[in-house]
C-alpha cells in the first residue's frame, strides 16, 4: 500500500501538482488518468523521488520515503519496478542483458538461473526470439514490452507503469493489461498505472484517480467512472465516438 498525503510540486514557479492525496491499495491496479500534460508522470516521479516534492509525504507501507536517507531510499527502491514512458532501456545492452541486469545486481543466482528468469519474464510479455537484439533494433512496442519484462524481473512489491500500452496494437495491449492485472493479484503488488486508454481502464481499473490541471479531480472505480456526472471526467471518458455509441446502447 502506498499513501500519498498533500503532495505539491512546482517547476520554476509553475504549479504542476496541487495538494494531491490518495491511497494506492495493495493487490489492486490503481490507475491514474487525465489529459496530456495534466501532471500524471510528474506525480509518479514524485512518488519515487525522481522529482523532489515541495511539500507532502509519501508512505510505502508506512515508511515515509522523503524522511529516509540515501540508503533507506535505496532499500525501498529495490522493491520498486518501474516502466518509464519512454522505456529507458539500457542501449548498450541486449534485450536479455537488460532483463538480466537487475537480477544480477540483487540476487546470487547462477548464470543459467538468471537467464531462465529473464526468459520467463520475456515470454510473459510475448517476446520470443529477440534476446540478442539491441534496443535500437526494436520497434516501439517491443521496447515497451522489454521494459515491462525488466520491471517485473525481480518481483517488485510496488509496480509503476507509465503508459504501458501506448504504442501497442489492441491485441498486445490486452495481453499487457492482463499481465499487469495477473501479477498484481498473484503477488499482491501495489500497482500504479498511468494511462490514456479507456479500454485499459475498463479492463483492469480497480481504483481510478483523475488528474485535471494538477489537481485530483475525481476518484472511483471502473463502474463509477462510466456513470459519473463530473463534467471533465465525463468528457474524458466519452471523448471517442465509440464510447459515446456504447453509452447510448446501454
Amino acid at each position: 500500500m502506498i499513501q500519498i498525503n498533500n503532495i505539491s510540486k512546482s517547476f520554476s514557479g509553475r504549479e504542476v501538482l496541487k495538494n494531491i492525496s490518495f491511497t494506492f491499495e495493495a493487490g489492486k491496479t490503481n490507475m491514474i488518468i487525465g489529459e496530456s500534460g495534466s501532471g500524471k508522470t510528474t506525480l509518479l516521479k514524485c512518488m519515487v523521488g525522481l522529482n523532489e516534492i515541495d511539500s507532502g509525504e509519501v508512505l510505502f507501507d508506512g515508511r515515509d520515503f522523503y524522511t529516509l536517507d540515501f540508503k533507506g531510499k535505496k532499500e525501498i527502491r529495490k522493491e520498486i519496478g518501474m516502466l518509464f514512458q519512454g522505456g529507458a532501456l539500457f542501449d548498450s545492452k541486449t534485450v536479455e542483458e537488460n532483463v538480466v541486469f537487475p537480477i544480477s545486481m540483487f540476487t546470487d543466482l547462477s548464470v543459467s538461473e538468471k537467464r531462465d528468469r529473464a526468459n520467463f519474464c520475456l515470454q510473459r510479455v510475448n517476446l520470443d526470439n529477440a534476446n540478442n537484439l539491441y534496443p535500437s533494433e526494436l520497434s516501439g512496442g517491443m521496447k515497451k514490452r522489454v521494459a515491462i519484462a525488466r520491471a517485473i524481473a525481480v518481483q517488485p512489491k510496488y509496480l509503476f507503469c507509465d503508459e504501458p500500452n501506448s504504442g501497442l496494437d489492441p491485441k498486445t495491449s490486452i495481453v499487457i493489461d492482463n499481465l499487469i492485472k495477473e501479477i498484481t493479484d498473484e503477488y499482491k503488488i501495489t500497482t500504479v498505472v498511468i494511462t490514456h486508454d479507456m479500454n485499459s481502464v475498463i479492463e483492469i481499473g480497480d481504483n481510478i484517480i483523475f488528474i485535471y490541471k494538477g489537481e485530483k479531480w475525481w476518484e472511483g472505480n471502473k463502474l463509477e467512472i462510466l456513470k459519473t456526472e463530473n463534467k471533465e471526467v465525463h468528457d474524458f471518458v466519452y471523448a471517442t465516438k465509440f464510447m459515446r455509441e456504447l453509452r447510448n446502447k446501454f
Binding site: 516521479k45 519515487v48 525522481l50 535505496k74 532499500e75 525501498i76 527502491r77 529495490k78 520498486i80 518501474m82 518509464f84 519512454g86 529507458a88 532501456l89 539500457f90 542501449d91 541486469f101 537487475p102 544480477s104 545486481m105 540483487f106 525481480v154
Partner: protein, 250 residues
C-alpha cells in the same frame, strides 16, 4: 558575481557526485567487470591514436632539434637528450592527456549525458542502484590505472620515432642518439610523469562524467555537455600541469 556563485555551485556538486561515485558498491563482482569493460573501451581503444601522435612527435622533435643545434659546440647526442626529456617531462604526460581529454572525455560526457536524457540513469536509480557509482567509478579507476600505461607506451614510441626518423633523415646517427637518450638519465623524471598522468587521468574521467551526469534536455544539450566536458578538463589539465611541475620539480 553570478559567475562565482555558479562556480562554487559546480564545485560543490562535483565533489558530492564524486563522493557518491566512491560509495560502497552494491555488488563488487559487477563493478570489477565494469572496470575491465572501461579499460577496454577507454584505454585499449586509445592505443592507436596515442601511438600515431607519439611517433610523429618524437620524429618532429628530433628534426627540429637537429635544425636548431647547428653549432659545432653542441654535440649530436644532445638531440637524443632533447627528445628523451621533452617526451618524458611534458609531451607524453601532458599533451597525450590533452588528446585523451578530447577523445575519451567527449565519449564519456556524451554516453552519460544520453543516459541522463533518455531516463536510463533514472532507471538505474529506481532499481536501487547508485548510478554515480555504477557509471562513473569504473571509468575513473580504469583511467587512473590505464592512462599511466598509455603514457609510458607513448614515451617509448616517441623516443623510437626520433631514432628512426633521425637516422632516416641523416641528422643523427643511431649510435649518437642512443648515447643521448641514456646520457644522465634520471628515473625520477619517469616517476614524476606517472604522477602527473594519474592526476590528469582522474580529471579526464571525472570532469566530463560530471557534465554528462547533470545534462538537462535533449540531444542538443548532450552535445553541449560533451563540449563543456572537454573544454573544462583540458583547462584543468593545463592548470594542474603547472601546479604539479612547480610542486614536484622545484
Amino acid at each position: 558575481m553570478i559567475n562565482s556563485v555558479k562556480l562554487f555551485f559546480n564545485f560543490g556538486r562535483y565533489f558530492i557526485l564524486i563522493r557518491r561515485a566512491f560509495a560502497k558498491p552494491e555488488k563488487v563482482s559487477i563493478y570489477i567487470d565494469r572496470i575491465f569493460e572501461e579499460i577496454y573501451i577507454l584505454g585499449v581503444g586509445s592505443l592507436g591514436i596515442v601511438a600515431i601522435i607519439s611517433v610523429f612527435m618524437g620524429a618532429v622533435i628530433t628534426l627540429q632539434s637537429a635544425f636548431n643545434f647547428e653549432s659545432p659546440l653542441i654535440p649530436y647526442y644532445a638531440i637524443g637528450v632533447a627528445v628523451r626529456d621533452s617526451m618524458i617531462l611534458e609531451f607524453s604526460p601532458a599533451i597525450v592527456s590533452l588528446i585523451l581529454a578530447g577523445k575519451v572525455g567527449s565519449s564519456i560526457a556524451s554516453e552519460i549525458g544520453t543516459m541522463r536524457v533518455t531516463e536510463q540513469i533514472d532507471a538505474l536509480e529506481i532499481m536501487g542502484i547508485n548510478s554515480a557509482g555504477y557509471l562513473i567509478f569504473p571509468k575513473i579507476i580504469a583511467s587512473v590505472l590505464f592512462n599511466p600505461i598509455l603514457i609510458v607506451f607513448s614515451m617509448f614510441l616517441g623516443i623510437a620515432g626520433g631514432y628512426f626518423f633521425g637516422a632516416l633523415a641523416g641528422v643523427v646517427s643511431p649510435h649518437q642518439y642512443v648515447y643521448g637518450i641514456t646520457y644522465d638519465f634520471r628515473p625520477f623524471n619517469v616517476f614524476y610523469a606517472l604522477i602527473k598522468s594519474g592526476v590528469f587521468a582522474f580529471i579526464i574521467a571525472s570532469v566530463p562524467a560530471y557534465h554528462g551526469y547533470f545534462t538537462k534536455g535533449g540531444a542538443l544539450e548532450v552535445g553541449r555537455s560533451s563540449t563543456k566536458g572537454v573544454v573544462y578538463s583540458s583547462v584543468l589539465i593545463l592548470a594542474f600541469d603547472l601546479i604539479l611541475t612547480q610542486l614536484l620539480l622545484a
